[in-house]
Assembly symmetry: C2
Homo-oligomer: 295 residues x 2
């Protein structure tokens, strides 16, 4: 059984990116520039954005963080957010930018996603990028699925003709990952099944998977009996569960009962340190790609 | 065993559309207007476009057919095609338009698809519509998958939690149909598997399907032993095979060995007269939707 080390893989990729950036800078080119918009003070979002800024430093990128306050008493005017997006769309110094989700409930998230110019949508959330990904055209791939595919590639896990079962049909993980793994070529050509809350005989479907991806956000939901011997298990879950022994008061738990499932697997991602670090890595890859597209 | 009558269902839908159009006209609104561009003289394309024009008449739509000649000796200048698309994009009298595929090899098909304004893309081929369909947002659904979903609905075939196996991962049938059937609600909530040329143990995967969709374009490829007892079988194949007994010299054959598979099915679509007529129907529904979006 091999534990897939997402942390180390992410570190490797960031080094590769940093090397490429320094070569570009030495050749007189600009540093890639990622901007992030953060609204309010959601705990998870604060951490994610801080990690993205840190990753930019590691990659030699320029980064800009734009913060908006928003409370129930003084909610952010959506127009203010939209104006900032319009400015970033036009700003030639910004290669790509993201609006950290979730947004406060009074803001129309889909309208925000569609306001980002597709050429700067390094999160890969704009319908144009989602559509191009499905069709198999060059585009910004959604960050988490791209990170998973990168792990499969770096660990040389075969996908051609293999049964991939994805549990969870979200727009940011399940659906785009299915689209990527059914494309022609490697890592693709897989026989992909997408499961969800309405699936009948879920355990049975999961047991057929050569590669099982858990992306439903329910800690420990995938138990050992749902895993085929020798399967590769990719755990996308990162739910905060209370843990009094930690300074933060919580720890991250995956969707897989790791302790019992791991011995059956040929490969498995831990939580934390599996898929999580790869997501930010994909964002860095997309930003570098955005910068290079201007060459 | 019930034979799904696509021809009758399509006729019913066209009557419903025609009734709605007459009500709109009586209320002082314009007739929906569909334009079609046809390049060259591909036999299949000629038939499809003629059928689309006829369907427009049946629905009370205005229709415009724009023809371009293109031969190996005198190939059409792609700029001329693009200029026409630009004009149709701007023409307020045209609600929706299509460019009949395939195009001659010297024309970049994807560039043509992306030149059509998404609001007029009644074929549902533009990446914006593909992406919105995947996300589950309102959009123009790709015509053939929308026709299949309409048949499932009209024949009240349950999809929730059911195993759907789609053989074929094309951008106009397999992938968009998968996206539609995995969405929340009816007809969706299915456990969808997409198979293709690289799938291992294809027969075995097919035999698990409650709903089996054959969309690979290989006549008779799906044999009776690949069909579970009581399954619903949807045959999207329409390959022209030589037939000396016909005036045309050919007949249409589906991807399913109908004669032997049908007795095992609870529902099955014949070829012709199954999915085929529904595809044009979806195009009419999309055009009506385009017209209504301007109300």
């Amino acid at each position: 059984m091999t534990i897939i080390d997402g942390k180390q893989t992410a570190a490797d990729i960031k080094s590769e990116i940093a090397r490429e950036v320094e070569e570009r800078v030495a050749a007189g080119k600009r540093r890639p520039h990622l901007a992030a918009i953060l609204v309010g003070h959601d705990g998870g979002s604060e951490t994610y954005v801080a990690n993205k800024v840190k990753a930019c430093e590691e990659c030699g990128f320029k980064s800009t963080l734009i913060r908006f306050e928003s409370t129930d008493e003084a909610p952010l005017d959506p127009k203010e957010l939209m104006d900032t997006i319009a400015k970033l769309n036009e700003d030639e110094d910004v290669d790509g930018f993201i609006v950290q989700l979730p947004l406060p409930k009074h803001i129309d998230e889909q309208a925000v996603i569609e306001a980002v110019r597709p050429e700067k949508d390094v999160d890969g959330f704009h319908p144009v990028n989602v559509g191009k990904q499905s069709i198999g055209l060059p585009c910004f791939h959604s960050a988490t699925p791209a990170g998973i595919v990168e792990l499969l590639k770096r660990y040389e896990i075969p996908t051609r003709g293999k049964k991939v079962v994805i549990v969870g049909r979200s727009n940011i993980v399940g659906k785009p990952l299915a689209a990527m793994l059914m494309q022609k070529g490697y890592p693709g050509d897989a026989t992909v099944t997408v499961c969800h809350s309405a699936t009948e005989n879920l355990a049975e479907v999961c047991r057929e998977a050569d590669i099982l991806v858990a992306a439903l956000g329910r800690p420990g939901f995938i138990t050992a009996d749902m895993v085929k011997d020798g399967a590769t298990v990719i755990d996308v879950g990162t739910t905060r569960v209370p843990d009094a022994t930690r300074k933060s008061g919580f720890r991250l738990r995956g969707d897989v009962d790791y302790e019992n499932a791991a011995p059956k697997c040929s490969f498995i991602t831990p939580v934390p340190g599996g898929v999580g670090p790869m997501t930010i890595c994909s964002l860095m890859q997309n930003t570098l790609q955005a910068a290079k597209s201007k060459d």
